[in-house]
C-alpha cells in the first residue's frame, strides 16, 4: 500500500496544479486560435453585425463547454449528484463547491478570447462600422445620401480595398475611432473580470471560511475514495483472474492426466519453483490444447472454494504459508485422484 499511498499523495497535492495547468494551456490555445483564425469581414450592411458578434461570442461558449469536457471531475460531480441517498446523506454545499471550482476554471479561456478579440478591434470594427457618427467625424460638405446608400458605404469601412466613401468619412478616421472604442471596452472588461476574481477570492476568508474548509475536505474525500475504490477493485480483479487462471490450468492438467491414465508423478523435493510454474503441462501438444481450450471455452467467472485446509498435504513440500495457492493446487490434485 505504500506505493499507492505515495501515488495518491502526489495526485492529491497535484490535482489542483494539474487542473490549473490545463486551464493555462486552454488560455494559450485560445490566443493561438484567435491569431490563427483568418478574420474576414463580409462588408455588407446586415451581415457585418451578425458576423462580428458571432465571432465575439460563439467561440467563448465553445471554449467554456470544452473546459468542462476536459475536466476529469465532471463525472465525479455528476455521480455524486445523481446517486441515491442510501446510508450516506448528500451535502449540497459540497456539490456547489465542486461545481463552482470547475466553472471558475472553465471561464478562463472564454474570458481570454473575448479580451483578445476586443483589444485587437477587428470584430467591433466589423460589427459596428455602420453606426459610426458621420455628422461628427465626417466631412460636413458632402451631399446627403439616402439611408440605404449610407449603410452600404459605411459597411465597407473594414475592407479598405473596396471602400468608396473617402469623401464621406475618411477610412482611417473611422477605423481609429472604432478601434479606440473596442480597446476601451476590452480593458474595461478585463478590469471587471479581474475585480470580480479578486472579490471572490478575498471575500471568502472574511465570511465563510469554516464552511469552505468543510466543503473542500469532503470534495477531496469523495475524489480520493473513488480512486481508492477503483484501486481496490483492480486488486480484486487481479486476484480473481489469477485464481481463475490457476484453476483453469489445474482443470486442464487433470483432464490430460485422466485422458492418458498417467499416475500423478510426485514432484521431487528439490524440483524448485520451475516445476511448480509449469502447472503440470510439460509438452507442446498439451500446451496447444490448453491454449485452444482457453480460446474456445473460457472458464466460468466462478472460483471453486478450497476443498480442505492444508494440514495433510505433501509431507516433503513444506510450502510456506505465503504461497497458499500452491498447496491448494497440489492438494486438489492429490484428493481428486487418490
Amino acid at each position: 500500500m505504500d506505493k499507492f499511498r505515495m501515488i495518491f499523495q502526489f495526485f492529491q497535492s497535484n490535482q489542483e496544479s494539474f487542473m490549473n495547468g490545463i486551464c493555462g494551456i486552454m488560455a494559450l490555445a485560445s490566443t493561438q486560435m484567435y491569431s490563427a483564425f483568418d478574420f474576414n469581414c463580409p462588408c455588407l450592411p446586415h451581415y457585418n453585425l451578425a458576423y462580428g458578434l458571432g465571432i465575439l461570442l460563439v467561440p467563448p461558449f465553445i471554449l467554456f463547454l470544452l473546459g468542462f469536457v476536459l475536466n476529469n471531475n465532471i463525472s465525479m460531480l455528476a455521480e455524486e449528484w445523481r446517486r441515491p441517498q442510501g446510508q450516506r446523506g448528500k451535502d449540497p454545499a459540497v456539490l456547489r463547491y465542486m461545481f463552482c471550482s470547475m466553472a471558475q476554471r472553465a471561464m478562463i479561456a472564454p474570458v481570454v478570447w473575448v479580451s483578445v478579440t476586443l483589444l485587437d478591434g477587428k470584430c467591433i470594427t466589423c460589427a459596428f462600422c455602420t453606426s459610426v457618427p458621420v455628422e461628427t467625424l465626417g466631412n460636413a460638405s458632402h451631399p446627403r445620401l439616402t439611408q440605404g446608400e449610407m449603410q452600404r458605404v459605411l459597411a465597407r469601412i473594414p475592407c479598405k480595398e473596396i471602400y468608396n466613401g473617402q469623401q464621406l468619412i475618411a477610412n482611417e478616421v473611422a477605423v481609429r475611432y472604432l478601434r479606440c472604442i473596442s480597446q476601451a471596452l476590452g480593458w474595461c472588461f478585463v478590469l471587471l473580470m479581474t475585480t470580480l476574481a479578486f472579490l471572490v477570492r478575498s471575500l471568502r476568508p472574511c465570511f465563510s471560511q469554516a464552511a469552505f474548509l468543510k466543503s473542500r475536505y469532503w470534495s477531496h474525500y469523495i475524489d480520493i475514495e473513488r480512486k481508492l475504490f477503483d484501486e481496490t477493485c483492480a486488486e480484486h480483479a487481479r486476484s480473481f483472474a489469477k485464481v481463475c487462471i490457476q484453476q483453469f490450468f489445474e482443470g486442464m492438467s487433470m483432464d490430460l492426466v485422466a485422458a492418458r491414465c498417467h499416475l500423478p508423478r510426485k514432484a521431487p523435493a528439490d524440483a524448485g519453483e520451475a516445476a511448480e510454474k509449469l502447472l503440470g503441462i510439460t509438452d507442446r501438444g498439451t500446451m496447444n490444447m490448453a491454449l485452444k481450450s482457453w480460446h474456445r471455452c473460457k472458464p466460468a467467472l466462478q472460483l471453486h472454494p478450497p476443498a480442505l485446509p492444508t494440514g495433510n498435504g505433501w509431507v516433503g513440500e513444506g510450502q510456506p504459508p505465503m504461497h497458499p495457492s500452491t498447496p491448494r493446487r497440489e492438494t486438489a490434485a492429490y484428493y481428486s485422484w487418490v
Binding site: 450516506r88 467625424l137 481609429r176 480593458w187 474595461c188 485446509p309
Partner: protein
C-alpha cells in the same frame, strides 16, 4: 516523518522564492503585454486624453489585482486577520508585515508597465498633444482656434493626410516624447533610491521586532500548509477504512446468504485478503451495484 520534514523544509525555503518568481513573471508579462498591444490613438479632440491616460493607468490596476490574486500569502493574511480570536491572540504586527510584503510584490508589475509606457512615449503624446500651446510651434501659430484643436489632436497619427509632412507635428511629438522619457527615468530613479534606502536602513530600526514578525508570518504560512497536508492524509486513511468496512460487510452478507460451512475458507489467507470472499461474477456485480446505490455511511468507528 522524515519525508514530511524534507517536504516542509522545501516549502519553508521556497515560499519566498516562489512569490518572487511569480512577481518576476508578472513583470515580464507586463512588458510582453505592452509590446504586443497595438496602441492606436483615436486622434480626435475629446477622445485622446481619455484613451492615453486610460492605457497608462487601467492596465496597472489590473496587474496589481492579478499580483494580489496570484499570491497565496494574501489568502493566509486575510484568514489570519478575519479569524475569531479563540485561544490564540492575534498579533497585528505580523498582519501588517504580511500585508506590506504582499503589497510590495504586487506593485512591481504596475510600476514596470507605467515606466515602460513613459519611456516609450506614445501614451503621453496621445493624451497631451491637444493641450499644447499652439503659439510655440510655427505651423500651428497662424491657424484658427477650431482648426488648431483638430490639428493638434492629429499629431499622434503620423500617417493622417492633414499632418503627414508637417514639421510642426514632428516638433510637438519630439517635445512630448522628451517630457515623457524624462518623467519615466525620474520615476525609475526615485523608486530605486527609495528601495535602496528602505533595504539599507531597515536594520537600523527595530531589527529584533522584524525578526520576530518575520518568524511568525512564516510560521502561519507553514502551519496552514501542514494542516492541508494532514487533512489530505486523514481523508485518504478515512477513505481506506471506509472501503475496507464496505468490502467486509459485503463478505459478511455473502457468507450469510451462501450457507458455506464455517471450516472452509481458512486455508488461503493471502488471496482471501484480496478476494474478500467475493468469488463469482454475480457477487462482483452485486458489490458494484451496492457501491452505487447505497454508499456506506461516513462512519468508521
Amino acid at each position: 516523518m522524515d519525508r514530511f520534514r524534507m517536504i516542509f523544509q522545501y516549502f519553508q525555503s521556497n515560499s519566498e522564492s516562489v512569490m518572487n518568481g511569480i512577481c518576476g513573471l508578472l513583470a515580464l508579462a507586463s512588458v510582453k503585454m505592452y509590446t504586443s498591444f497595438d496602441f492606436s490613438c483615436p486622434c480626435l479632440p475629446q477622445y485622446n486624453m481619455a484613451y492615453g491616460l486610460g492605457i497608462m493607468f487601467v492596465p496597472p490596476v489590473i496587474l496589481f489585482l492579478c499580483g494580489l490574486i496570484l499570491n497565496r500569502q494574501s489568502l493566509v493574511m486575510l484568514e489570519e486577520w478575519r479569524r475569531p480570536q479563540g485561544r490564540r491572540k492575534k498579533d497585528l504586527a505580523v498582519i501588517r508585515y504580511m500585508c506590506s510584503s504582499i503589497m510590495q510584490r504586487a506593485m512591481v508589475a504596475p510600476v514596470v508597465w507605467i515606466v515602460v509606457t513613459l519611456l516609450d512615449g506614445k501614451c503621453l503624446i496621445c493624451a497631451f498633444s491637444g493641450s499644447m500651446d499652439p503659439e510655440k510651434f510655427v505651423g500651428f501659430a497662424n491657424v484658427s482656434t477650431a482648426q488648431v484643436q483638430q490639428l493638434l489632436a492629429k499629431v499622434p497619427c503620423k500617417d493622417d493626410e492633414l499632418v503627414r509632412n508637417s514639421t510642426s507635428r514632428k516638433a510637438v511629438s519630439r517635445y512630448l516624447r522628451c517630457w515623457s522619457q524624462a518623467l519615466g527615468w525620474s520615476i525609475l530613479l526615485i523608486l530605486i533610491i527609495a528601495a535602496f534606502l528602505a533595504r539599507w536602513l531597515r536594520p537600523c530600526f527595530n531589527q529584533a521586532t522584524l525578526l520576530q514578525v518575520r518568524h511568525w508570518s512564516n510560521y502561519i504560512d507553514i502551519e496552514q500548509k501542514i494542516f492541508e497536508e494532514t487533512c489530505c492524509e486523514h481523508s485518504r486513511l478515512f477513505a481506506h477504512k471506509c472501503i475496507l468496512h464496505f468490502f467486509e460487510s459485503m463478505r459478511q452478507e455473502i457468507k450469510l446468504h451462501s450457507f458455506t460451512l464455517p471450516g472452509e475458507g481458512k486455508g488461503a489467507e493471502g488471496e482471501e485478503d484480496f478476494l474478500w470472499g467475493i468469488t463469482d461474477q454475480d457477487q462482483v456485480n452485486k458489490l458494484l451495484k451496492t457501491w452505487y446505490y447505497e454508499k456506506p455511511p461516513l462512519d468508521v468507528s
